[in-house]
Amino acid sequence: MASSTDLLYSEEHNLVRKMAYDFTRNEVMPIIAEHDRNHTFPFELLPKMAQLGFLGICLPACYGGAGMDFLSLGIVSEALEYGDSSVRETVAVHLALHALPIFQWGTDEQKETFLPGLACGDHIACFGLTEPGAGSDVAGIQTRAVCEGGDYILTGEKMWITLADVADRFLVFAKTQLDQGARGISAFILERGWQGLTTGTLEGKMGVRASNTGWINMQDVRVPAGHRLGEEGEGFKIAMSCLDNARFGVAAGSVGIIRACIDESVKYALQRKSFGKPIAEHQLVQQMIAQMQQDLDIGELLVWKAGTLKNQGVRNTRETSMAKWFCTEAARRAADNAVQVHGAYGYSDEYNVERHLRNTKSAVIYEGTSQIHTLMQAAYTLGMREDRPLRCPMPAYDPDTWQ
């Protein structure tokens, strides 16, 4: 059976795959169930991921990155989420939702100032868009940024922010023009320690318990103009382009979950017996496993397609949305079926599948809920939506200049 990894990926990618899966099996899987149980963040993984270059994998070497391509980012995301969603989330938020937007929209000076520290993990970064009163409806955010003597004064609250209590860099979105809806939003890079900026952790999450999810409070935080990313009023476009980057990692990560669910379910189904034979021989169990395999095969192709377009520098908002929508829903189905295959044992944290099931519920909510992606796809197909060129498109991957 020719696997899609052989057909679609280069030798370089397959070496990355082996390395990243080895990392997950050796470093993530032995510790993550305990962190999930205790709702603790695996700080011990950060220096290891930084040292291997995961935190700057697809940033050019001139900014301290590893100079790999977007497909490699997908492979690493897949491998990490094979272990646990929370670990993949760290890379998604830090790199795809913070460092890559600076790479895409930042001035030369901003890139030189901010990217090397992020690429090597000296700084850990997050992305603050969602607010207590506005999630899907981004234009409805209330955080305000008032220009004062060349600086901006930010006031507001961000909610459900991954790494809020871990990060020391924050990309936040605020209204510079209150009456202009999406056109009135601007983006700012904030630093921990600035007066008026506080963070906290949200308790009681259903899943991604080994991730830090929290809030950011800003009370008259003074932000120098040099920390504004993009033009004034460009924040909405920046936020959406951030999602183009991160949704790709979410989709690839979901493929990792499906793979994990298949591996665990196959192993269990061949061992566990009922009515005198392995449960793998019951057709209704086979049906669940076949469904997982179908989802894996489709998911892999969608991720590869989006990643390839990214490498080519082709606008991929639609393809990335499709990959995110399909793969996160498929991972949720796979985890649900994997628990079912395991019977009561799947309902216990002795096995990984219940953790995957809890985790997959978050991925159909963040980075655009499944409903939002449904609406997007319908709008594209009905000709009601088209992507206009961006002032700063994400550059195509260029091995000669990135390495």
Partner: protein, 261 residues
Amino acid sequence: MNVAVLVKQTPDTAELPKVTVAEAQSGELQATMVINPWDEFAVEEAIDLSDRFGCETVAISMGREGETDALKHALAMGVDAAVHVDERVIDGGDEWATAEALAATLKMVDTGDQVELVLAGKMSVDGNSSVIYAGVACMLGWDLLVNVTRIVDIVDGKLIAEQAFEGGQETVEVPLPVVISVAKEINEPRYPSFMGIRKASRVTIPTLGSDDLEIRPSSTTRWTDLDKPEPEDVQVRIFDGASVEEKVTQLADALMAEKVI
């Protein structure tokens, strides 16, 4: 002094149970093939020695045509060069024939300086023979150290190493050249770096075939039959009890009932 490291490409251990008898007989395995995990310790040690003593390192692997994933992994970890030996040179031969081909390759590889140290993993996860390195040492007429847990120093043509054996450990000194099999306690293999991966994926690995190696391998053993043991029916029992003592008592009773203790 240069260092050669012997590596084998084996099925991913997670997939080993899926390998069928027919696959094992034909050699056409469906499983994902990776570097033999024991060999990663040998590769790591070679790279570490190159950092400590400035020697050049070369990884050598015999396998099917084009089977170079294990070598690429070793290159990505940081060895300087790799050589692939087409397994057709031994014409289906046994471990002794394999050792003969590897020894002949070692005599041939030119890494600038003489290879005076050969490192190998403790065993392969598929073959489990643990004799290849012994055969290589024998063919080359070199000393052999097994189960080495630390290479202390290399000075004045001598190598000092710590070697573990059942119930103890000893420090030994041997003259170079020497063949060494390493134990897993010797180091912690590194992950390949992205830079290493890029470098490895661009390297074309030379393959040596029958025209290159002057050997007439003599196989002394042949497989006459091959069986796959039935998977054992493992039962899991979890002992409930109010205290650790109570659980341990139940465990001890159960172990005695099963005549384990």
